[in-house]
């Protein structure tokens, strides 16, 4: 509760300082908009549906790109991580690819797929695949040997070991990877929308506002993008908390004592 109150207080302070500097005329610049103009631009954009359409367009590209990233990254991570020798062979290649910024790959994708959404989705998929593959391969390598050994002694098949042990073990890594890849993918989605050819999307809307010297409109896009990223992150943390249930203690039944009866 105290944390929430402190957060609300901090937000109030920032808005008050922002209003104090801009609405009083202390700071005047074409790149500066006050909170009232920004709120008005936000209300107009949300009211006429343009901002929501932009959010939907960006979300669609992001969703497709991340889905592709998962589709390729999870099996790739499993493949790389499940053999120490394989990991050693492929690790430098993965590091090299991770060092290449996805935005540098984007022009290549434009050449390959033309000025459509395919290139943007491809760039997001490139960015997310590597993040996911890295996390999953690390997750596989961290599976405690004792757990797999216990199953092997029972006569479990490889498929049973994968289903009952390895998939659970890599699930936390997959969800963390998903969280990181969504934030990385959002950056790539917005920037590739800014660069060329997009008519809808948060990046495209930001560039349109900049060309029109519409600072409040630009601020509105920034606020909406930040809110989307924050909401997605919070949603994924909640999902992670719910799915990876074994990392937290089970709640005690109502009225139960944490001390076993024999020790009381």
């Amino acid at each position: 509760m105290k944390v929430r109150a402190a957060r609300a207080g901090l937000l109030g302070l920032v808005v008050a300082a922002w209003a104090g500097l801009t609405e009083t005329g202390l700071v005047r610049h074409r790149a500066v908009a006050g909170p009232i103009d920004t709120a008005r631009a936000l209300a107009v954009g949300l009211g006429d549906g343009t901002l929501l359409a932009d959010v939907a367009a960006t979300a669609e590209r992001l969703g497709l790109g991340v889905a592709l990233g998962l589709l390729v990254g999870v099996p790739l991570g499993l493949f790389i991580g499940s053999g120490a020798r394989r990991y050693r062979i492929l690790e430098p290649g993965m590091d090299f690819l991770r060092a290449v910024p996805p935005l540098l790959v984007f022009p290549l994708l434009l050449l390959a797929f033309g000025y459509g959404d395919l290139a943007r989705v491809g760039a997001i998929a490139y960015a997310t695949t590597l993040v996911i593959a890295l996390y999953v391969s690390t997750g596989v390598r961290r599976v405690p040997r004792g757990r797999v050994d216990a199953l092997r002694v029972m006569g479990a098949t490889r498929w049973q070991i994968l289903r009952w042990v390895q998939l659970y073990e890599i699930l936390p890594s997959c969800l963390t990877a998903l969280r990181h890849s969504v934030s990385a993918g959002l950056v790539v989605a917005v920037v590739t929308e800014m660069v060329v050819g997009a008519t809808e999307g948060l990046g495209s809307r930001a560039v349109s506002a900049q060309i029109a010297y519409d600072a409040p409109g630009l601020y509105a896009v920034i606020l909406v993008t930040g809110a989307c990223g924050y909401a997605l992150g919070a949603l994924l943390v909640a999902v992670e908390h719910r799915v990876v249930f074994w990392d937290r203690p089970e709640p005690l039944p109502r009225g139960a004592s944490p001390v076993p009866a024999a020790r009381r």
Partner: protein, 239 residues
């Protein structure tokens, strides 16, 4: 009749270092053999070889007449927190060996009921709880139930009571002994550092030691001087 477990000159090297240097051991049906020795002596390495988790670099190991890994082996790992799956309830963990071989619901229910009757007759253990919410001793009990649920012919137990309190230890020792005696054909190989475990549960105590390790002594726990002999041998081997 061939013994349940037969190791002849088993040598194991890990990372180029010889750990086992020719272990010879036979465990007959119905025998309960305690394998003792200092920490790092090679007890767990030998158990892993018996379980088929490590291949010997020389010598042969046969379990139930075949090279390991063999079906019909129940195993309790040294660290129950690692051996059990935290995302499954205690019950599901116990039933894993039966699920591995595709046993039906009726068979699983019967087997669970039988193993519970033997090891936890008062149903003190909450089998609906997941391992992270159980104490160390309770986890070991789940591990023991899992090892016994599929009626194995060989039980391999790596310090099976190490996390248990004294009353649980005494009760489970008696239960395991009763199980082995009732089943008759079950052979048990277990490691322990506890003198009471080895003297009350084992029908034979063997000591592993040296570098690389071999079987260096054998004791009959029923003899009047067993406790003294084992203590003296441990002092001599690890002064």
């Amino acid at each position: 009749m061939s013994p349940t477990l037969r190791a002849d000159g088993v040598e194991v090297a890990i990372g180029g270092r010889a750990i086992l240097g020719g272990v010879d051991l036979a465990v007959e049906e119905g025998e309960r053999v305690a394998l003792i020795g200092a920490n790092g002596a090679g007890k767990t390495t030998f158990l892993e070889t018996v379980l088929g988790l490590r291949a010997p670099s020389a010598g042969t190991c046969r379990v139930l007449g075949a090279p390991p890994p063999a079906a019909g082996v129940g195993y309790v790992a040294q660290d129950p927190a690692v051996g059990l799956l935290p995302w499954y309830s205690g019950r599901d963990n116990v039933l894993l060996p039966l699920r591995c071989r595709g046993a039906g619901a009726d068979e699983r229910r019967r087997a669970l009921s039988a193993v519970r009757e033997r090891l936890d007759p008062d149903a003190d253990l909450d089998l609906g709880a997941r391992p992270p919410n159980l104490s160390g001793g309770q986890r070991q009990l789940v591990g023991l139930m899992r090892a016994l649920v599929s009626s194995p012919r060989l039980l391999v137990l790596d310090e099976p009571f190490s996390a248990m309190d004294a009353p649980s230890r005494v009760r489970l020792r008696a239960a395991l002994r009763a199980h082995a005696e009732a089943e008759g054909r079950v052979a048990t190989l277990f490691t322990t550092h506890d003198l009471d475990d080895m003297l009350e549960l084992a029908s034979r105590v063997v000591m592993i030691g040296g570098a690389p390790a071999r079987i260096i002594a054998s004791f009959d726990p029923r003899s009047a001087d067993a406790r003294h002999d084992v203590e003296a041998a441990l002092r001599e081997a690890h002064p």
